[in-house]
Amino acid sequence: MGADALTSPASPAATGWTPDQPIVSIRDVRKSFGAVEVLKGVSFDVRKGEVICVIGPSGSGKSTLIRCVNALVGIDSGSITVAGREVNDPKLDKLALRRTVGMVFQQYNLFPHRTALQNVMMAPVQVLKQDKREVEARARALLAKVRLSGKEDAYPGELSGGQQQRVAIARSLAMRPEVMLFDEVTAALDPETVKEVLVTIRELAEEGMTCILVTHEMGFARSLADHIYFTDRGVIVEHGPPAEFFAAPKDERTRAFLGQIL
């Protein structure tokens, strides 16, 4: 994609962001749900085109963290900027933010009353009010890109988990995001369909899409990520390039976690 760079008000230029700055910058983010502090001061940067994997045990705040990036979850303190846009700003233009950040969920969350093609077309047509025919052409191309040509008119209920998840990826891409968030997108899939989804994400990453993934697929993280962050109980315990991180984990908790999972 990207060849037809339609200018949009969501483009980073509008916010004073320049490509030499991190596209996502997370600074000392804290978040509590009731009495439970889920994020206890998390910071990291993501540069444009980078692929970041966040790993860690269940309940360590990974999903909450990436939900903060597109303001699905509000933060209590700290700062998150996405392409120069402060997420914690009460005057935040959420629409613009969410055009910049795409998200794919563990449970696919396709709209079951709409076909695959309609799922992909809905947001650009209804939210961005883009031309329907132009969007349809783009949606068909996106479905072809995720290898789902011929499934345009299928309803989500008629597709396998892996197919649904690829529709969800195409749906997100149809908004032409700058950053993609993947929240354990293969965790609900059958082992044999995990691969087809990972292949799609890999292609996306290799095309230069900025990706933040929460994942349990260690092999995938190792081979694809530019940087790994290990979270436990709301903090980043350890991080580093995959080769270093997996070969010689320094922290006790990281070693215990990797020992369990690998």
Partner: protein, 277 residues
């Protein structure tokens, strides 16, 4: 003891395919026949000149069926009015305007937990028999008040059905829509509510059956619907006790023939929608 295992140790028969006995026209005719027989037996001991229950029902059936149509009309109007009001109330309940949502919730609970007959009395005695607007006099006959009276519980139930349907959708639908930059209003109208229609249809049809059967309560406040007419027909035939069962049996049959297919259809829809959303 024989070698047979104790019955209690046998595996419980799987309850999966519950097949209901299908009621067909034959059964219905049977029911009517039985009722007529009861009447007929009583008739045999009565005065020899009195017409049989069949003859009475046949003679009065145009009037009685007209009464039944009135019940149907009241139920349809109450359902329409109640559904429109209930959808508005339900939307207010799930809305972001907190005070409005509170009021809508309270109204829903109030009308949902009041006996229908009390609401009917309430409507009968609180609503004036006519309104005067800009010099025009709009009459409010009893049956219109009955429609309003029945629409109140319908409204409350539809409101709750809507709220339940919206709540029953997985939160992931809201999250996905939000992450695609849909506004809350767009999410509700484009994504959530279209999915709720299917979920709301079976309970809504159920409610309609209940309303239809409840319309006979209007006889208590003097609306000349089927039950009122049945009682009048009975009086006109000299109030013979042996006519009671056949006459009211006929009324029952009419309601049954009307409501039973709705119930079947509701079940079928429920089963179909349950398969997979």
């Amino acid at each position: 003891m024989t070698g047979r295992p104790l019955a209690v140790l046998l595996p419980v028969a799987s309850p999966a395919p519950r097949s209901f006995p299908k009621l067909t026209l034959v059964h219905c005719v049977g029911i009517v026949g039985a009722l007529a027989l009861v009447g007929g037996a009583a008739h045999a001991q009565g005065a020899p000149a009195a017409p049989s229950a069949f003859e009475v029902i046949f003679k009065w059936s145009p009037l009685l069926l007209q009464g039944f149509l009135f019940n149907v009309a009241i139920s349809l109007l109450a359902m329409t009015l109640g559904t429109v009001a209930g959808l508005a109330l339900g939307l207010a309940q799930i809305g972001t305007n907190r005070p409005l949502a509170r009021v809508a919730w309270a109204a829903t609970q109030f009308f949902r937990n009041a006996p229908w007959l009390v609401l009917l009395f309430f409507a009968m005695f609180m609503i004036p028999f006519q309104f005067r607007i800009f010099g025009y006099v709009i009459p409010f006959p009893d049956w219109v008040k009955a429609v309003i009276g029945f629409s109140l519980p319908v409204m409350a139930n539809v409101s709750e059905i809507l709220r339940g349907a919206v709540r029953s959708l997985p939160s992931g639908q809201w999250e996905a829509a939000e992450s695609l930059a849909f506004s809350r209003r767009q999410t509700l109208w484009r994504i959530i509510l279209p999915q709720c229609v299917k979920r709301m249809l079976p309970p809504w049809m159920n409610l309609y059956s209940l309303v239809t059967m409840a319309t006979v309560q209007a006889s208590i406040v003097g609306v000349s619907e089927m039950l009122t007419l049945t009682s009048e027909v009975h009086a006109a035939e000299g109030g013979r006790p042996e006519l009671l069962a056949p006459l009211y049996g006929f009324a029952m049959l009419c309601f049954f023939l009307y409501c039973y297919p709705i119930g079947r259809l509701t079940q079928r829809l429920e089963r179909r929608f349950n398969v997979k959303s």
